[in-house]
Symmetry: C2
Subunit: 146 residues, 2 copies
DNA sequence: TATTGTTATACTCTATAACTATA
DNA sequence: TATAGTTATAGAGTATAACAATA
């Protein structure tokens, strides 16, 4: 049996390499060519959690506030978000996703899932192997959500 | 039991989300602040597979040739790679990684593995769970190497 | 003629600093 | 005074087009 510490580091190395490669491959899929990774990440956040202010979005995406202003400008021009002035604190601007924005997120997710499902199907993975991947996904989520 | 097609798509969705989140977290770790993701990817390739021409590197990293010239310029200025004219075909330039370049790659990989191993250790994963992650890593590699 | 690499130039995304409006 | 957002400006990183050297 492998010593616990070795096992940890071997697992970390394997998982790191596998994760980077798969992420890189999947990230190349986008429903709208005109949308950047940063714009898509903001749309996905808005779709999942609802309206946000510019500064909250900047903090969540770990970019500077002017960068988020720029990102939101691009999304607004494409009709994927709308700005609404905050009534209670008129310094604030609330950003909401539009139906078109939501559609783009759903479609991008769908295309990525289809690509990955096709890749899995092509390799004729067994039910046991798919179960391993699902269980690993849950463990990976525990790592990032921690 | 889940129907095969559902199982495929559920697995794809779970794995996609888990992969993106983990990759994003790990990518924030770099041994040298002055190095970009693109530069690091080239160094890692050179360390693993040895000398490459500019156009081969451009093709492998899926960027345009002038972009790779720019990337190699940056790495050369920092002393992480050297250009060597090809004797047989004097249009070509061979790029080799230096010891300093190799050290940076090793150190970045080490820091990322330590971070991930620490994250795994903190969650007290069992040997069975670590085994699941290692098996999943192998399956993920089969997907991207296919 | 075709290929390899570089230079010239422009566009996108990001940042910091300075500014406006509001609290 | 402090905060939310924007504008001005600059620095990476990427792309296409045009060019020089070589095959």
């Amino acid at each position: 049996m492998t010593a616990p510490d070795d096992s940890l580091h071997l697992t970390a190395t394997d998982l790191r390499m596998a994760t980077f490669r798969l992420a890189r491959r999947l990230r190349s899929v986008r429903a709208a060519d005109s949308m950047s990774d940063g714009q898509l990440a903001v749309l996905a956040d808005l779709r999942m959690y609802g309206r946000r202010t510019i500064s909250t979005l900047a903090e969540r995406e770990r970019v500077a506030a002017p960068s988020m202003t720029n990102t939101i400008n691009g999304l607004e021009e494409q009709g994927y978000v709308v700005r609404t002035p905050d009534e209670d604190d008129r310094r604030r601007v609330q950003v909401d996703i539009t139906d078109a924005g939501s559609d783009i997120v759903v479609e991008t997710i769908r295309q990525r899932d289809v690509l990955l499902a096709d890749m899995l199907a092509e390799l004729d993975f067994t039910e046991d192997e798919l179960t391993t991947l699902r269980e690993a996904s849950i463990l990976m989520r525990r790592v990032t959500d921690r």
